[in-house]
Amino acid sequence: MSRQKNLLDVTNLRIAAAPRHGEQKLLLNDLSFHIGPNEFLSIVGESGSGKTMASRAIVDLLPAGVIRTGGSIYLDGQDLAQLNPRQMRDVRGARVGMVFQEPMVSLNPALTIGRQMAEGLKLHLKLPSDEIHERSEAMLRRVQIRDPERCLTSFPHEFSGGMRQRIMLASVLLLKPRLLIADEPTTALDTLSQREVLELMVELARDSGVATLLITHDLGLVARYAQRVVVLEKGSLVEAGSARQVLTQPAHDYTKRLLASRPGRPDAKPHPPDDAPVILRLDRVCISYAERATFLRGAKTKQIVHDVDLSLRSGEIVALVGTSGSGKTTLGRAVMSLKELSSGKILFDGIDLASMAKEDKRRYRTQVQLIFQDPFSSLDPRMRVAEIVAAPLRQLPGTAEEHQHRVTEVLKEVGLPGYQSRYPQEMSGGQRQRVAIARAIVSRPRLVVADEPVSALDMTIQAQVLTLLEKLQLEYGFACLFITHDLSVVEQIADRVIVMSGGRIIEEGPTHVVLHQPQHAYTQALLEATPRLADAQNQLHP
């Protein structure tokens, strides 16, 4: 492990939040790791574990108020702490490239792709403009962008998240860095685009001899792509080694817990009887959105959901699976009557939502509830937890004390006793999602639509929230339409799976059948793209 051989050598790195009120909070404690040339290392941990801080320290991009308090970082045998800001700028981009999590914000919306890609080449390599153009185009072709010529003159908003992340990757690798740092590069993407982007990243890195540092919380990705892995917990390294060894024979408790919390394998779960009454039926539902009207042309409509038939029995959990843009969220919103149909019918208890009498509508509102994806946006920041949870009770009879009592009871059930007077922003993501779940079940609904309820959460929190949801479903016996893109979650909780693509239902059936003998090519691709721990055995890397 000589310093000359390693590309990056991090020794006893310590990072702390600048002292406020006298005390210093250690964010990273004596972290040491190294990356050889061409190596693929992954740092794994949950949010708050300091994994992002570690990667930012390498390029000296720590956020304000966070400082390096000790340790050394050597890149190619050169101590990065010795460099002045000007030399550090040469390191960033030219020698260490970075891809960030949010492709939506890491590209400048006001500049064309071509301008942004040229920036680095101009700054670091000082090339003539026609050569810049040529190289950019070739690189875009490498990342499989259709029509790279046009892409160069386009703006970021014209591309999907996966496309943007590929463009980001292209512009980073254009400078031929020695090390690529990818900080949760695909967390914001759906399963299929995630796979495409990562596969491209691995391939490009291997071909051009770039070492890769992947920061992630997803052990499935580690299993599939990484050679070595470093596991962080609360700023300290708890385990490091080859990916295969760490994932198959974890030594530390935390790693074991992280592995165990990956969704999968359901226990034998009582299935709802087949003769349970149908409570929700969708009949040839079509939904369209109005596109922006231009100056001369009137508003056109774009159809998102095509002729969907679907029925949900009382007490049944049905997973609605698809990639982003498949229309699954739109369909969920339609069931909540937050979105109007362009044709077709949605029947709740046999009554058409569109022509419901006022009394039926009120009953429907108390009996159908939604759990949102993003617990940061679904809770009003100006209300206390008790008020948020009590909201659906307003439509029900009962005194204020009875409602208060019910709120207390539900908060206890979701594992948040005594949180009544907190504000959402004083709580963690997992706790907020529990509040959202409490709000959804407080009125004892018969149908709960859950729109990606765990995809914004950390792995271990995800497992806890899913378990909670399962437990509550058993207790309350509500039917659940579970919208997700994550097939491993589906396996854990759903009785039945419906796969959507391009706004149509392409496959449906009992969970074990769809997941083990998928009929449709799209379902097969989706399954194939879902990262699993078993991938540690048959990696892309030798």
């Binding site: 304000a64 009120r362 009003d380 100006r382 909201a391």
Partner: protein, 274 residues
């Protein structure tokens, strides 16, 4: 981080002191003034600032300090009433337009944009020409003049809030439109509205002074800072205190509310300072 907090605190403190001193002057002026601000004393016209007349006297021998104090009362009350009206109506219209969208929004915004196209002060002048001079008509004119920008700002704040999922959650809970607006939209746009209020107050103080300076404001002999400036114009060469005192008063107040507004913004959203 710690260092950068200090200048912000200092300007916030200054804002509070400036605004506080204006309010204090108004309060003291209600209880006690050195002279009656309207009594003419032709024996001592244009007296230099001295112990008798701290800020001197004007061409009719009236005490400038007393007139500035009464002017503060009149200017501040006109500005307060107009600001409250602007914020009240602006918020109501902005919330309705932004939350309901559709034809209501289009109609309101069409009228609003038409009004926005005219400079506020011109609009106010036109209205006063129709309504006649007087305290009420000034308040009304200034309210209309500064309503359009406020409606715009409130509407855009509402547009961003209405896309939040807690609004959907409120609909799912079965809440009516008015309840959702009151309970979820309003509290979440309150901070920007309060900050906007301080700006509006500053604009109104300036415009009211400008109107009074032009002679269409509060009619003499009642003093406002604007008409004191206007009356001081012929004596600028040899009685500079006549124009300096009301000028400083106006600048003092406007600077004060602006700094206060900035402090309020930082307090609501500490990140904007970073």
């Amino acid at each position: 981080m710690i260092r950068s907090l200090w200048p912000m605190r200092r300007s916030a403190l200054l804002g509070c002191i400036l605004v506080g001193s204006v309010l204090l002057t108004v309060l003291v002026g209600c209880l006690w003034m050195p002279y009656s601000p309207l009594v003419i004393d032709l024996d001592h016209p244009l007296a230099h600032p001295s112990l008798h007349h701290l800020f001197g006297s004007d061409q009719f021998g009236r005490d400038v300090l007393s007139r500035a104090m009464l002017g503060a009362r009149i200017s501040v009350s006109i500005a307060s009433v107009a600001t409250v009206l602007v914020i009240l109506f602006g918020t109501a219209l902005g919330v309705v337009a932004g939350f309901l969208r559709g034809w209501v929004d289009r109609l309101l915004m069409m009228v609003n944009d038409a009004m926005l196209a005219l400079p506020g002060i011109l609009f106010a002048l036109g209205l006063i020409a129709v309504l006649g001079t007087g305290t009420e008509s000034i308040i009304l004119a200034l309210t209309f003049a500064y309503l359009p920008p406020v409606v715009r700002v409130v509407r855009s704040a509402v547009l961003s809030v209405r896309e939040r999922e807690y609004i959907d959650a409120s609909v799912i809970a079965g809440d009516g439109v008015l309840y959702t607006m009151y309970r979820h939209v309003l509290p979440n746009i309150l901070p920007p509205i309060l900050i906007l209020g301080t700006s509006v107050f500053g604009w109104v103080v300036l415009s009211e002074s400008a109107l009074s300076f032009l002679g269409v404001g509060v009619p003499p002999p009642a003093p406002t800072w604007g008409n004191m400036l206007s009356e001081a114009r012929p004596y600028m060469d040899y009685a500079s205190w006549l124009s300096v005192v009301p000028g400083i008063c106006i600048a003092w107040t406007v600077l004060g509310v602006n700094l206060f507004g900035d402090a309020l913004r930082d307090w609501f959203d500490p990140r904007s300072n970073a």
